[in-house]
Point group: C2
Chain length 273, copies 2
């Protein structure tokens, strides 16, 4: 999917919501545990109930890998289901990969070719030649970790590197990477005030913002500092939506929570028209 197509979907659905599919067998409705593939059945129900309210889905690969081959199969079924039934959805493999050149190429193949995700999250620590192999794939997007939403972000990301915080160095350095037009960035919503500085460095890039909801970020604050002329934001909510209820009506409850966010987003989009 191209960035323009993503922007088109955002205006069409009046939503820049991304739903995180971080599925934990211990948290899902008990009645699904008897299914052949409970994780896929859970995802399918959530997707069917919310696809008109969200523009993106983001399975975090950790939650699938933890269940071994079975989990990997659930992930593949989920992405295939999305691609077959909702081709207008932007898909994100939240995998936080990154390795030396030829190895990053293998990861890129795994997510872009084998599973046909539109995008993958990548960690910047190993630098240019660990990121560029992902950027080489046309109409695929590499979402680089800049400022994450967890407490550990203060260990290194906000430390000054040659007079500038590390996450800003990551943003500035990455702009010079080959095919950097395929870059997006992860920016945690728990630090909305940082967004205005970030927008000075990457005014046109899409930002994937986790941490609205369970991690305490505020949607209005994030939009105030983060929106650009093409919206430029994907706001992720995982637990706040998918675990809204764990009764038989879990998908309906998830849709209600998604609708709340979508309505807030619609209002914000109308205000900036």
């Amino acid at each position: 999917m191209t960035t323009q197509e993503l922007v088109g979907q955002i205006y069409k659905k009046q939503s820049f919501l991304c739903i995180g599919l971080d599925v934990d067998l211990h948290k899902m409705p008990k009645h699904l545990l008897d299914a052949k593939d409970p994780i896929f059945e859970f995802n399918k129900a959530i997707i069917d109930a919310t696809h008109h309210l969200a523009v993106a889905y983001k399975p975090n690969t950790a939650f699938y890998e933890a269940y071994g081959i079975k989990g990997w199969q659930s992930l593949q079924k989920t992405i295939q289901y999305l691609n077959s039934n909702y081709p207008d959805i932007f898909t994100i493999a939240d995998a936080k990969r990154g390795d030396i050149g030829n190895t990053s190429t293998m990861y890129a193949k795994a997510f872009f070719e084998d599973m046909e995700f539109d995008s993958v999250t990548v960690a910047p620590y190993m630098g240019k030649d660990s990121v560029e192999p992902f950027l080489a794939f046309k109409n695929k997007h590499t979402i680089l970790l800049a400022l994450t939403s967890n407490q550990g972000a203060f260990d290194f990301q906000t430390k000054e590197v040659e007079g500038k915080e590390l996450y800003k160095q990551v943003l500035e350095t990455s702009i010079a990477y080959k095919n950097s037009e395929n870059l997006m960035y992860v920016v945690g919503a728990t630090k909305a005030e940082y967004l205005s500085d970030i927008r000075k460095i990457v005014p046109n890039s899409f930002l994937l913002v986790p941490g609205v909801g369970a991690q305490g970020g505020n949607l209005k604050e994030v939009c105030k500092y983060g929106l650009n002329t093409q919206v430029g934001l994907l706001i992720n909510s995982s637990r706040g939506i998918i675990y809204a209820s764990n009764d038989a009506d879990f998908a309906k409850s998830a849709a209600s929570k998604a609708l709340e966010l979508q309505e807030e987003m619609k209002q914000i989009l109308e205000e900036i028209k």
Copy 2:
């Protein structure tokens, strides 16, 4: 496996060699491609031919993920084969994972519980709460990226953060993490001279050193600066060993290359006795 058991194996085998199982269908002997699981058959042959010369094996997960479910199955078969037949081998999942707390726990479960690896490589960018979930597993080892062997290492890792290079900040900060006795570090062999500084910060930790061979590192140089009283080094070679030949005798050729390194290591261990 405990660190003491690993040290015991090193002295017993007179080797601190780790063999990287980065298996690429395009590089392996053609006659194996007809097998039901070529990647596993390749690994099995390499392991059977070299297990007496190496103390550790390190599959890089990217090379398995690139082949989807089939690749993941090959990885599981490989680790099961190692654990069943060579329980004295130290196993490393070179996965370079790292995410917020509950998500890192899922990755730890994937590699330590579901697949029963002894260790996993982890990226430090997200800080303390992305690393500690791995450290919570007893007798399992978390190998944190400090200074990698690729060119991109100079993008951020060697930049000064509050008066000290980022990789040194990573080393110093991580020492204060809970259960930090379960930490080892990745340190690229292409920068052997850095090792004496690193040893000042982590004198007792094991260092996993990639980049000897294909990436140009020199074994003697690395040992000069990196050895400690318990050896404290695992030297990885991947392509230089496993692709020594791609004829029918590939495993024998791999063993010859591994033997060369093991003999060099034996001599070094004798010199420091």
